[in-house]
Amino acid sequence: MIQLNRQSTLRQRGGTALRWLIYLAPALLLYTAFMAFPLFDSVRLSFFKSGSFLSKDFVGFDNYINALRFWSAFGNTWYFFFIHMVVQNILGILFAVLLMEKGLKGTGIYRTIIFIPATLAVLVTGYLWKLILNPQWGALAILLNKLGLTQFSLPWLGDARYALTTVSLVSAWQWVGMPTMMFLAGLQNISDDMYEAADIAGATKLQTFWYITLPLLRPVIGIVTILTFVGNFNAFDVVFAMENVNGAPLYSTDIMGTLFYRVGIAGQHPVSIPDPGMGAAIATTTFLILALGSALVLRLTSESIEKQARI
């Protein structure tokens, strides 16, 4: 009788390692060369003068110190992130809870519509809202004038006081669908027994939400936070489309993504010569912020992360 099992056929050890490596080679090579290597080599690059690796061009932390001049972009990115967090978590949880209501008609249609903006290119969204918000001919201005609300017909993108908030809200408008779907998936995992028990105990709707739903959604809030965090600290397209790479007006919408582009790739006004060393320093700073921030959020929000990391 032939004894066939995994060990003797497919899953042998030793000499077969080399053969499995042939299957792994294309993916491993491309991923290492075009993702892992440039990510980590950027860190090295950040300690050298304008993109060279000669030892005489080693400058220590100079690039980082010089990049500190652009402190405002850093602050603006946090504000951009803050608006996203408020809008996405509140609306995301609200929509998800509403969509879970028993006997509600049209949930499929609402779900489809809520997610539409997330499939659009950020550039298209940005351009479209830029046209709508145009203070003279934009649809919003015309609508407000018709309703007699001319006092709200302001240059939302042209005034340094409102520009960053406006851009952040447009970006949040686009991405709300993502957290909504994640919260919805999270809610579907909460068992009905919990709610029945709360119902029997005479809990009000608000109490049920506060003491049962919200704590159980904590891991999802954590994931949404990390995704928003990573997305926002790398955002570029929305400012590029609605303002420009300088973060107009008066650098008020300048965020890490646009700063990185200007300094490292296009070159700063007025010299227009890119400084790859300083660009790499900005990228490395972003990288560190993301790594530290994500680790912190994971610790704060999740007990189920261990389960997921095990996979």
Partner: protein, 276 residues
């Protein structure tokens, strides 16, 4: 027994309808105005066109490089996705079957890439693309997109292959089929739903990417759709119906694809997030 009155969900419908209007209003103005005469847009920006004007579309499609940009995007997106699926499936096949400490490390190495934004390495990537002579060509995008798509592919496909019951491959093993035979005769077919998830997950980011075309490509012949849209947006600055036609043409293919398979889209686009 107490009869509960049927809930009308007034509040719920109210909130969701307001958001529906907020989502659809910009898209509605974009589409209807792209069919209007230049000055009708200012007079009545919200209603359907009194006279349907297809001129904007015709001139965008005929006089600009729009179709060329569209073709370039299609080429890069489909090519990169196919490569991600092929290389990802091969790697996942190895990682699922080769049980060893080394393979666990390689798996973790791939999965770590799901959280890392490749944009951070852009400066080094730009130097590499220049050194390889790919700068200013559409081919510069392939290696970057493939590298970007592999982590999620390896993650989803490895999990999937691990769950394929051994019985399904047993017969082939008894027949003396080799590893590769089992892979292409059996595994690939069973893998289809997972391949679809991976394809959708990568489709939107590849198609909608502006960053890498912007920093790699300057030549009009090699521009992708979105990079082309930035040029046309500047070119048609004063002619809103043409700008809106460009935006509509850029947005509608993905929206239609999404509407035709919204369940898979939502699942695909949130897959990495929920599982990662």
């Amino acid at each position: 027994m107490k009869l509960r009155p049927k809930k009308a969900h007034f509040f719920t419908h109210g909130v969701l309808s307001v958001w529906t209007i907020l989502v659809l209003f910009p898209l509605w103005t974009m589409i209807v105005n792209s069919f209007k005469q230049k000055y009708d847009i200012y007079r009545d920006p919200f209603g359907l066109p009194h006279v349907w004007n297809f001129q904007s579309y015709l001139s965008v499609l005929q006089d600009s490089d729009f179709i060329l940009f569209f073709r370039n995007s299609l080429f890069v997106t489909i090519g990169s996705i196919l490569a991600v699926l092929l290389f990802g499936a091969l790697a996942a096949y190895a990682l699922a079957n080769w049980r060893d400490r080394a393979s666990r490390w390689i798996y973790a190495f791939f999965v770590a890439g799901m959280m890392l934004p490749i944009k951070i390495g852009s400066i080094r990537l730009l130097q590499m693309v220049k050194a390889l002579g790919l700068i200013n060509t559409i081919y510069s995008l392939f290696p970057v997109y493939i590298a970007m798509g592999l982590p999620i592919a390896v993650f989803v496909l490895t999990e999937f292959i691990r769950e394929i019951p051994y019985e399904l491959t047993e017969a082939a093993v008894i027949d003396g089929a080799g590893r590769f035979k089992i892979f292409h005769a059996i595994i690939i077919h069973l893998l289809r739903p997972a391949l679809a998830t991976v394809a959708i997950f990568n489709l939107v980011p590849f198609w909608n990417d502006l960053w890498f075309p912007l920093i790699f490509i300057n030549s009009d012949k090699h521009k992708t759709l979105l990079l082309g849209v930035t040029r046309l947006f500047g070119q048609y600055q004063t002619d809103w119906s043409k700008i809106l036609a460009v935006l509509t043409l850029a947005a509608v293919p993905v929206i239609l694809l999404y509407l035709s398979m919204s369940k898979q889209f939502i699942k695909g686009l949130t897959a990495g997030a929920v599982k990662g």
